[in-house]
Symmetry: C2
Subunit: 381 residues, 2 copies
């Protein structure tokens, strides 16, 4: 019987482990330092074996994975790179969603030499966004433009933010302040954070507002398309409030003298926002994503588009964020284990999107689990 | 030659002293602790004699005013009540705009016994607003409703606040958090701060937004009108931003733990807002006010309305805020000195509005100085 281990037992890791544990002939372990996380994951699916381990120690990861045929990563971003390297050193196939800040592809040569396949950024965005962008590019004779729109939102919209975050407010605010790199005329150009807000209609959701975010990541290097942009989606109005708070200085990391003490306004803002931006237990979220690839095909301009409108799963008691992120990773992991994907090196998911069979297989697996991407092709002009 | 002294040499006090100093046969002194304030006031009008004095010491005020025939007050609000009592004890007529938090009318008996007339809250709002509300009531057989709308605004509207304050941000925020008392059905009722925003058109200004503020002060007691309300005016959108900041907790006085330190979010907000809400040297402001009094008269419903749209005075290099506040006080002061107004006791300006001659005389004096109230009477329904 094959054995898989998931590193990291948070919301995403536990959904990943539960999905893998439903596979016949696969024994699944979940590693985390926190006993309560292991307990909670096992309550989601009792076929999971919990392993308490300090995953901030790469040597411990090396020992841990030695006994398994397949490794999945769902770690906090700052642990991502060291874990990746430890898994490569252990010579195990790896599917990971750890969203590390560092350049994972820098370990490509090392993984290739070791003959192991590692797919990083293997969630929804980054993840399916990369894969489908590459799929669209592969369908065209000449790709001219890639646009990725993506947002995680609460179903219930409450004044004034109409937003909640699956992660810490300071990380959300980081998205609102970091300049965003987009590709224009074949060059990487920088746009101010929160810039170019635009209202866009989504069937079943109404109007959402998009704004520039720094989300292209590996795509800026791996795809040869002259115009590429990633924008984040919010309910209309949220962006304006964030622009106001930023303008007023509430996102500033500059220490401010207030009476006898010195504080960073960002820390005050994070402390105030934390309770307001946190999902309640069982509160419903949704994930909306649209990947559009335009270009020349068969003598005309053609657009390929994939739309996702995924909702909180009442049945699974799992957020849309965790399912749309965990399930692509769990499915790719299976394909690594079966040898269907065998691509020694470290790759982002666009390396899979060039292959029609792999893409179909993934979209099919997601659809079976209720995560449905709608595809359409249109002729433009 | 008669002698007048103005207590407090800030923006309002210096305009008051300069106006009085232009009167033939009147010697004018200005008292303040800060030499630079006296210097600046004298640069506005060289006929003013500066007197350096600590006005937080009532005994010093008593000594100081003994030598004068008339006293005007333009002090910080926390100094107002003690100064009023000192002037009454000295037996001098007093016109004051110090906007004290305490009930000045509590000193009415003392002033009456001493035979001195003191008019407090003698600026624009409170001030002319009280006087004209009372005038409207006096014109009607039965007054049914008084509404005062007033705002001080920058001429140039800059995103996102479209607002600047002639005073400290914490005092503005106090207006945005203190529950507002209004009169409804003859009873005082409390409305949440920043509540009931309403768009209203003003000729020459466009749409402004009004919201409930706690500004009726003495009117709630002195006028017998079943429905009275005071609302503050801002450019549209400002109120919504203030509601968002309040909701988010940025106006909270509750200490918040942030890392190693404890701060009140309000103090952080004040520190951030101070530079953004402060008028630049020479920056133009405006004052808009509308007083509406409705009721029964000559067998039908009638409305009396006064409108003010006053702008920064380029000629005088004085803000509209300082002129609209200082000039009513300076004009009432002259009427006290001449004996035209002789009403022993402490009164708010509504005590003057019942008298048509006094009202006319004041409106005439203001118009001569460029501060023009437009009056119209309409029959309703």
């Amino acid at each position: 019987m094959a054995k898989a281990i998931v590193l990291g037992g948070g919301m995403v890791g536990s959904v990943m482990a539960a999905d893998l544990a439903r596979e016949d002939g696969l024994e699944v372990s979940l590693a985390d330092l926190r006993p309560e996380a292991l307990e909670q994951a096992r309550s989601r699916c009792d076929g999971i074996t919990g392993v308490q381990a300090d995953l901030s120690d790469p040597a411990r990861i090396g020992e841990l994975v030695a006994d398994y045929d397949l490794v999945c990563g769902a770690l906090a971003s700052h642990l991502g790179l060291a874990a990746l390297e430890a898994v490569i050193d252990a010579g195990k196939p790896y599917a990971d969603i750890s969203f590390m800040a560092e350049d994972a592809l820098g370990l490509n040569e090392k993984a290739r030499a070791a003959g192991v396949t590692c797919i990083v950024d293997c969630g929804v965005a980054p993840g399916m966004s990369n894969l489908l962008a590459a799929r669209g590019v592969a369908l065209l004779e000449r790709a001219e433009r890639v646009e990725i729109l993506v947002g995680g939102l609460p179903v219930e919209r409450s004044w004034p933010w109409e937003y909640k975050a699956g992660f810490a407010p300071a990380d959300v605010i980081e998205e609102y302040t970091r300049p965003s790199r987009i590709v224009e005329g074949g060059e990487t150009v920088v746009r101010e954070a929160l810039s170019e807000p635009e209202l866009i209609e989504f069937e079943g959701l109404g109007s959402l507002e998009s704004f520039n975010t720094d989300g292209l990541r590996s795509l800026a290097e791996t795809l040869d398309v002259p115009c590429m942009i990633e924008k984040t989606l919010r309910y209309p109005g949220h962006i304006e409030l964030m622009r106001v708070l930023r303008h007023a200085g509430f996102f500033s990391k500059q220490p401010l003298q207030v009476g006898d003490v010195t504080v960073r306004p960002l820390d005050v803002t994070s402390a105030l926002m934390f309770p307001q931006w946190t999902y309640e237990e069982g509160e419903q979220d949704l994930t909306v994503m649209r990947i559009t690839v335009e270009g020349q095909q068969a003598g005309g301009r053609v657009m390929h588009r994939w739309d996702l409108d995924d909702r909180y799963s009442v049945e699974e008691q799992a957020t849309s964020m965790s399912r749309t992120t965990a399930l692509p990773c769990a499915l790719v992991a299976r394909m690594l284990l079966s040898g269907e994907i065998d691509l020694p090196g470290v790759h982002a998911p666009e390396a899979l999107g060039t292959n029609a069979t792999w893409t179909e297989s993934l979209l099919q697996g997601l659809a079976e689990r209720g995560v449905r991407y709608t595809y359409r092709e249109s002729r433009l002009g």
